[in-house]
């Protein structure tokens, strides 16, 4: 019986779905690339998922442990600050929040743009180079959504060209 292993080979290394969430936590795009692998949920649930994730992401972005001030920090700070609120602790750069969520069945990668839009990519745990895929998806978004005069910011993405290019790009990855 070699069939199961063959099936396993097919179902690994797949990009399952993409979700795009706007600044306010609203779902502006969702698309499933591969049937199976993930449960199907209703559009309403997608909206809830987007809103919930937005909240969780905001919380994780505020989880910002204080770190003991290092000597280099103190040296550079003492010249610039006038001592207001000076203590032994300093806050590091604000963290970017939740980036990866991994379960035994899938791995969710989150990428936040500088303008606060979140891209969630659901892929198989063995999928390699998700960063690269994410980068390319972002490229496609900037090209075919942001350069489209008929797209209104923060509104749901309905761009044929984006759908087409994204579909062919992900199909290429999933068939590899």
């Amino acid at each position: 019986m070699r069939l199961p292993s063959f099936e396993l080979y097919i179902t690994t290394r797949t990009v399952f779905a993409l979700i795009i969430i706007n600044k306010a936590g609203g779902l502006i795009y969702n698309r499933t690339f591969h049937d199976g692998g993930l449960n199907k949920i209703s559009t309403n649930d997608y909206l809830v998922l987007a809103g919930t994730f937005h909240g969780v992401h905001a919380i994780t972005a505020r989880l910002n442990p204080l770190q003991p001030r290092t000597t280099t920090n103190r040296a550079s700070l003492s010249s610039t600050t006038t001592g207001a609120g000076a203590g032994d602790l300093v806050r590091p750069e604000p963290p970017s929040g939740l980036e990866v969520l991994e379960t035994e069945n899938f791995r969710m990668q989150c990428f936040t743009t500088l303008t606060g839009i979140k891209f969630l990519l659901f892929a198989d745990t063995t999928q390699a180079n998700v960063d690269l895929t994410m980068r390319r998806v972002y490229d496609l978004y900037t090209d075919y959504v942001m350069k489209n005069p008929f797209y209104q910011l923060e509104m749901p993405v309905r761009c044929d060209m984006f759908d087409r290019r994204l579909g062919s790009y992900i199909r290429e990855i999933n068939n590899r």
Partner: protein, 218 residues
Amino acid sequence: MAHLGPGKAASSKEQTGLRYPSNGKTIYHRPLNRTKTAELSQSSFAYLFSEMVSYAQRRVTGIQELEKRLNLQGHPIGLKLLDLLLTREPPRSQTRPLTIIALLHFIKINLWTHLFGRQADRLEKSSNPDTPDEYMIIDNEPLVNAYISVPREMSQLNCAAFVAGIIEGVCDGAMFPARVTAHSVGGKEEGEMWPGKTVFLVKFQPEVLEREALIGKG
């Protein structure tokens, strides 16, 4: 609409006050961008064009009016480009096109290469005997539409109306008054490969065909 013939600058030598380089090449003979490939950023153009479409969209009530506005934005560019491109031709062929075919070839080859870095894909004459004044310039994927997805409720719109305006400007400038419109034909079975395929329909005024017939006889 200024009907400026491209006329050779015969009197250029007589003028005083302007200095001409010894090789005769003025700033009009070369593009401003002198890098090897003389390329521009497609992204910058896409953002600019996107804003042009939004601007045209601001105070219009219908799709036809929007296309008209885009057409008007392109028209002056066509008028000027005709002069510029003819100036850059070698002196021997520096005459404006005198027949419809010569004009359309000039558009398909010279104009398209200057604007988009390649020729237009096809040139056709209307096969319908009722409309002998219609010619078609076909572009499989217009550069201006590279990133544009037209929403479903505006499916009649083709933003290449801007390019149609440029073509119209060239035709008007060469004294072949015409109406040029852009039509998407990518939806059909043939269009699967080129979803953005666009036909520029050039409809000449009756007097142009009249003149053409007279030239043919002579």
